[in-house]
Symmetry: C2
Subunit: 144 residues, 2 copies
Amino acid sequence: MFSKACEYGIRATLYIAEQSLNQRRVNIREIAKAIDSPEAFTAKIMQQLVKSQIVHSVKGPLGGFEMLRSGSHDIKLYQIVKAIDGDNIYKGCGLGLKECNEEHPCPVHFKFLNIREELREMLETTSITELAKDLDKGIAFLKQ
Amino acid sequence: MFSKACEYGIRATLYIAEQSLNQRRVNIREIAKAIDSPEAFTAKIMQQLVKSQIVHSVKGPLGGFEMLRSGSHDIKLYQIVKAIDGDNIYKGCGLGLKECNEEHPCPVHFKFLNIREELREMLETTSITELAKDLDKGIAFLKQ
DNA sequence: AATAAAAAAGATTTTTTTGTCTTAAATAAA
DNA sequence: TTTATTTAAGACAAAAAAATCTTTTTTATT
Ligand code: FES
Ligand code: FES
């Protein structure tokens, strides 16, 4: 469904969000350990997430990653997926035609419509903070 | 969502199914042209589909691919996806955890549940013949 | 000012996916 | 029986994705 990069990106963001609930800044080593991902690769993905302003980073000793939530500013799952994988999941044709077009539909177009719409809706409405709270409560997990 | 191989596989199968409605056997050159896919790569995918008994092939002059539908035998979208991409889309964890487990859920597990269930349901119930008929009627297309 | 710890940037490697090419096997028709 | 046409099989190549390594930049602490 998502690329490995996107999976790690979501998991990393969720871990940072969870730690930020308690004002904890975390470094890449800790993140990779917490989400069981390759450290250097995860670091690369973090660069994208910082550029996309999904997480905030601080260099130097005591530095690391954090999420500054200024009240209204609430990141949605959608933004991470879009930043890393682009919006092909909702916009692209399920059978790989050059464009998904209502007027020139592929055979599964109308079968996929609902599902893709629900997926988009879910990603657009699910907030990172909401999910991070489940982690904090210990009812959801970021690794096996 | 699906791999390129799977997308080509579905499109190729649908084209064969459409032509089989009129008892036409088609060769790989014609298939690749009809679905706008790389011929040699598509040929490789056809080998998988033949091995999985989704389509039938005949060698030699006048040979090609066809679908023998013996009444009850009705291929579902699901079977093609499973043969090429495996069943990770329904069974695997959306965030890439080693296994998707109700008792040890990732933060998006219950958000994904409905969507994945609907996707599985759709793929399991949608028949190739049904889609091929839309192609035949000219209300669906396999290339731009 | 020197050191150490962290992220950023960029080059490089490995693995997987996508795609091609060549040869072999099957078979219909001349 | 030879030839032509087709799929099958397997080796190979290119591109993309995943992952690593090295160097640079920033910054807190000593
Ligand atoms: S045209 Fe294929 S999903 Fe819309
Ligand atoms: S555990 Fe992640 S989707 Fe079920």
